[in-house]
């Protein structure tokens, strides 16, 4: 039986995203991909998928969806809740709490509540979306109509075909989600840090910037005291390669952090590049947020990345059977207490289902 998820309402901007499209930059093809790859990884672990399996990425306001031909197992990887309404009118609505997996049956609908305090969430799909990759990726790059469903963001009436879910699995929850760090965004200076005076470079990390309302997958425009290039250098250069995370400074002096869908080459000086371990934090920036930068060197960036990987592994290891609030599950409590932190995420059967009445 074919299964699919119907988009009843797409929310503000929802797209299918995986790790992104690599190897095509010299044909002008942007990377695209998940703006918060950490949440995507953990969300996929929740439903037993490979780390970067394509999921529904929703920004600012989530979608409303309906299951066809279920059951379909979904994971809610977001700092928000959702309301699951069963097709059977006699059943009560279920509130789906953040970072848990659940089953949708034929005709069930799910409405995700608006995100608060974060910008992006993922609905991961057990078994993944049955959508053909384009140039090696399912990631949607709408400007050139690549990936996703017909190259476009999700819209009302779309049906995302899904692979069959392993419906016998139990509901699970991430008991220790990865916390978002509150440190400054770490940046490596360059490639055009020599376009700026030492004083300007110091000021770049000393002053706060406000995230403007221009936040999308191409770039995040910042507002703050102007960052000006040296007069003899100017703000125009012979275009060179850009990657997501590069912070370009146009003539206005207001920096733009290039993001996942950014162009492959650019002609503005780039003062620095956000380190890989902090990229997912960019995906959670809301307009109005205040951020600060800190320069680090390559060794420090690599050490931070290693720590982050350990953090993600811990989160994934913390995935446990979901115990409904108010239902005492002696065995699950006992087991979790005993082996907390060393659960093998690849062996969900580690926890025998105890919830069945």
């Amino acid at each position: 039986m074919t299964t699919s998820l119907e988009i009843l309402s797409p929310g503000l901007i929802s797209t299918l995203q995986d790790k992104g499209r690599f190897g095509m930059a010299s044909s002008g093809v942007p990377r695209a991909g998940a703006v918060d790859p950490v949440s995507l990884q953990i969300g996929n672990a929740l439903v037993g998928n490979d780390a970067y399996t394509a999921a529904i990425e929703f920004r600012f306001m989530g979608p409303k969806i309906k299951a066809h031909g279920g059951p379909i197992r979904l994971g809610l990887a977001a700092e928000t809740t959702a309301i699951l309404t069963r097709a059977d009118a006699d059943e009560d609505d279920v509130e789906i709490t953040p970072w848990r997996s659940f089953l949708m049956h034929e005709g069930d609908t799910l409405a995700i509540k608006p995100l608060k305090g974060s910008a992006t969430g993922y609905l991961t799909i057990g078994g993944g979306a049955d959508v053909a990759p384009v140039l090696g990726s399912i990631s949607t790059y709408a400007r050139a109509g690549l990936g996703g469903l017909d190259g476009a963001p999700l819209k009302e009436g779309d049906h995302i075909p899904t692979h069959a879910a392993r419906a016998t699995e139990i509901d699970r929850v991430v008991t220790k989600p990865c916390p978002l760090e509150a440190t400054p965004i770490r940046v490596i200076a360059g490639p055009q840090d020599d376009y700026f005076s030492t004083d300007t470079l110091t000021r770049f990390t000393a002053q706060p910037f406000t995230v403007s309302k221009d936040v999308d997958r191409m770039g995040i425009r910042l507002e703050g005291d102007e960052i000006n290039a040296l007069p003899e250098k100017g703000h125009d250069l012979i275009s060179d390669g850009s990657v997501p995370g590069a912070i370009q400074v146009p003539g206005s002096g207001q920096p733009i952090i290039l993001f996942t869908d950014c162009q492959t080459v650019g002609g503005y000086p780039k003062i620095g590049g956000v380190i890989a371990a902090d990229m997912h934090r960019l995906g959670q920036l809301l307009p109005g947020a205040e951020i600060q930068f800190e320069f680090v060197d390559l060794k420090t960036a690599q050490a931070i990345l290693k720590q982050q990987q350990e953090q993600i592994e811990k989160s994934i290891a913390s995935i446990a059977e979901y115990v409904e609030v108010g239902v005492i599950n002696q065995n699950a409590l006992y087991t979790q207490n005993l082996i907390d932190g060393i659960v093998d995420a690849d062996r969900p059967d580690h926890f025998a289902g105890q919830l069945e009445a």
């Binding site: 095509m24 930059a25 002008g28 990377r31 490596i188 200076a189 360059g190 490639p191 492959t264 890989a276």
Partner: protein, 245 residues
């Protein structure tokens, strides 16, 4: 050849030849790229996710989890000393139809006025030149072409258009280009080309590549619209507009 190595975050770096630009720079970058790709094929450089060729620089994008950044940097450094004059296979010559008429050429009159010549002169100069492809970038399949005749060199528009239609043929400074996709843009729009420059279903999705050359042929509005229809209907093959040089 003088080169500089520039950090681009912790997952990429750029090799730049600061004394080069234009056609010479692009050729030098292609030569370096081919040496790097040989090393990648031989397994001596690993963990590369992508390479971005520009007109005087090459950016290496690495997998932070598998690449040894310092080692890749050292290996690439050792390759930059080579000359640019490795034998290069000649690129293709593309002869692309362009409609320089009416609404398809919104900035033609203004450019003619600024250049102090007739619109016919502008069309003749723009379409008589054979351009070198410096790089493909900005958008999928977008070719940066050089060099525009000095008489037609103007800086970008002071206020960029919010929507430049797909297929627009444009000039800015010493370069000309074709926008494969609708997008914002600040170049002066001289005409419209019906040939699709990027198709994910083709073996090589980008029609035009660095090292190729491009020439434009003026066509009437009626011919342009017919070509556009035929391309949309899948009756025409874009690759037939190119020939081995």
């Amino acid at each position: 050849m003088k080169s500089r190595f520039l950090m681009l975050g912790d997952s990429a770096f750029t090799v730049e030849f600061p004394t080069l630009s234009g056609v010479d720079g692009a050729r030098h970058v292609r030569a370096l790229r081919s040496r790097i790709e040989d090393k990648m094929t031989a397994g001596e450089i690993t963990g590369v996710l992508d390479l971005v060729s520009a007109s005087r620089s090459l950016t290496m994008v690495l997998d932070v989890f598998s690449a040894d950044f310092d080692q890749v940097l050292e290996t690439v450094k050792s390759l930059t000393d080579g000359t640019s004059d490795t034998e290069e296979t000649a690129g293709r010559l593309w002869t692309l139809p362009v409609c320089y008429e009416g609404d398809y050429a919104p900035d033609l009159s203004e450019v003619a006025e600024n250049a102090g010549m007739t619109t016919d002169d502008v069309i003749k100069i723009h379409s008589d030149t054979i351009y070198d492809v410096l790089l493909i970038g900005f958008q999928p399949g977008f070719p940066f072409l050089a060099e525009v005749d000095p008489k037609l060199r103007f800086p970008r528009r002071t206020s960029p258009r919010i929507k430049v239609p797909a297929g627009s043929v444009a000039i800015a400074n010493n370069q000309t280009a074709i926008y494969p996709w609708e997008s914002p843009g600040g170049w002066h729009l001289l005409g419209r080309c019906p040939v699709p420059l990027f198709d994910a279903n083709r073996n090589t999705p980008a029609l035009i590549g660095p090292g190729d050359r491009v020439k434009f042929t003026p066509v009437s509005t009626a011919d342009y619209e017919k070509l556009l229809q035929d391309f949309d209907a899948g009756k025409l093959d874009a690759t037939t507009y190119g020939e081995d040089a």
